[in-house]
């Protein structure tokens, strides 16, 4: 009963809000170019289905490629940091500098350098820059959080640095990495959208471009449809990464234990 309520209540709230929205907009006769009713948005969605799906696919591609690159790059650099204090001390300040500089401010530069004829590459690069840092910093912290007594025990048994890394440090960092991936997945989507807004026109074909396009034409219902798709995409990424986290951690990690209790 409690479990059913957990899913039923948010769903019921959503339905109630949509119903109230629909009734209010119709009752007050709000023009569709200001606030479209949910039914208008659904119609806009159906009418533009092929082009919206193509845009969703474009945005999804940029987001996923950037996310995978950020995860691989972040983990790779964190592993290098864990092996060499000197490399970490040398590079970390620049990673921080890159992180704290607002990506919107760097985006035009990247677009110019990479070129509008290779817009997809530029979008991926920008989304990568936004999502890279949480992976790097959390994995670096996770690799350092391995139990020091266990490291001593590994050394006592003659373990190589490789064995300590693979059998001890990487598993210790896994909960940190998975937490960072949930953040980075959302950031990659934000990066992909922001990059397209900055690009503004040209060959970009993602959902962000559809929003600009629809806004210019005052197709507000279509803008809402794009927004709903972006939200759904963000939720899907988060849900997929949460499922991955559960699959990898639920047998042993404390965070999963509390949910069971």
């Amino acid at each position: 009963m409690k479990a059913a309520l957990k899913y039923l209540l948010p769903f019921a709230l959503g339905v109630a809000v949509l119903a109230a929205w629909q009734i209010t907009v119709r009752a007050l006769d709000v023009p569709v170019y200001l606030v479209p009713a949910p039914s208008d948005i659904a119609r806009a969605f159906a009418d533009n289905f092929p082009s919206l799906m193509a845009s969703l696919w474009a945005t999804l591609q940029v987001t996923l490629i950037a996310f995978v690159l950020a995860t691989a790059g972040g983990v790779g650099l964190a592993v290098i940091f864990s092996q060499s204090r000197m490399v970490e001390n040398t590079l970390y300040p620049y990673a921080v500098a890159l992180q704290v500089t607002p990506v919107v401010a760097i985006a035009p530069l990247i677009l110019i350098w990479v070129g509008y004829d290779r817009i997809e590459l530029a979008l991926i690069l920008i989304a990568f820059l936004v999502s890279f840092f949480p992976i790097l910093s959390n994995t670096t912290l996770g690799l350092k959080s391995a139990d020091h007594n266990l490291i001593d025990l590994f050394k006592l048994y003659g373990a190589s640095r490789w064995q300590i890394l693979v059998r001890l440090q990487l598993p210790s960092a896994l909960p940190y990495l998975l937490g960072a991936m949930k953040i980075a997945g959302g950031l990659a989507l934000i990066g992909a959208v922001v990059a397209e807004f900055v690009a503004g026109s040209g060959t970009a074909t993602g959902l962000a471009w559809r929003i600009i396009e629809a806004g210019n034409r005052l197709e507000i219902a279509k803008m809402f449809a794009c927004l709903a798709l972006l939200a759904a995409l963000g939720i899907a990424i988060f849900a997929a990464l949460s499922a991955l986290e559960y699959a990898l951690l639920h047998k042993w990690h404390e965070s999963a234990l509390k949910k069971q209790g």
Partner: protein
Amino acid sequence: MLLSLRDVSKSFASGTQALKGLTLDVGAGEFLSLVGPSGCGKSTALRLIAGLIAPDGGAVNFAGDKPETGFVFQEPTLMPWANALTNARLALDLEGVARGEAEARAAEALARAGLKGFEQAFPRELSGGMKMRVSIARAIAAKPKLLLMDEPFAALDEPARQALNDDLLTLWREDGMTIVFVTHSVYESAYLSTRVAVFSARPGRVVEEIALKPPAQRDERYRLTPEFAAAAGRISAALKAKP
């Protein structure tokens, strides 16, 4: 004799001098307890013997090659992502023992440590005492000649601690290994040891060595005998003496 520490001193970067003038012999096959006040360098002595840290002065010498050494910490120090069997296999895995053989030996070690049937259990599913048993199984799976134990039972409740004391003595007798056991409990050292080295306050050194002759087979009744009381009394007196 298995190993000896000669005039060993050790300071840490913080400036704390943990050990000064520590001289101690460890004989093959004995159960030697290191007893002393908190912070007297007992654990440091254990880590020196293990080779995890190097002395500033003096020397740690082994008769022959450094023996296969196991280490049991105060915390169970298990890998939380690995089940009991995989944890017990650690030393064998790192030494490159074939998987099948490593699993068989680890399963045997778990059974001997009293955990038959818990091979697949993850650490968080086990009680404190059972986790410590996994830790002991991991240490004995590699058949060490020398087992170093750093207050392994200090965090356990009394019944779990006494059960582990008896099981540890059985393992020690069966495997003929040498155990160096750090504890701050007079009664634990009196029950377990064939010899007790009493440490001074920091910087630590051995102020008295007490040889004990406990019966080979002992159980709870031994704790009620005059011999046990006398042994505990001698250790206690040595601890309180101000040299």
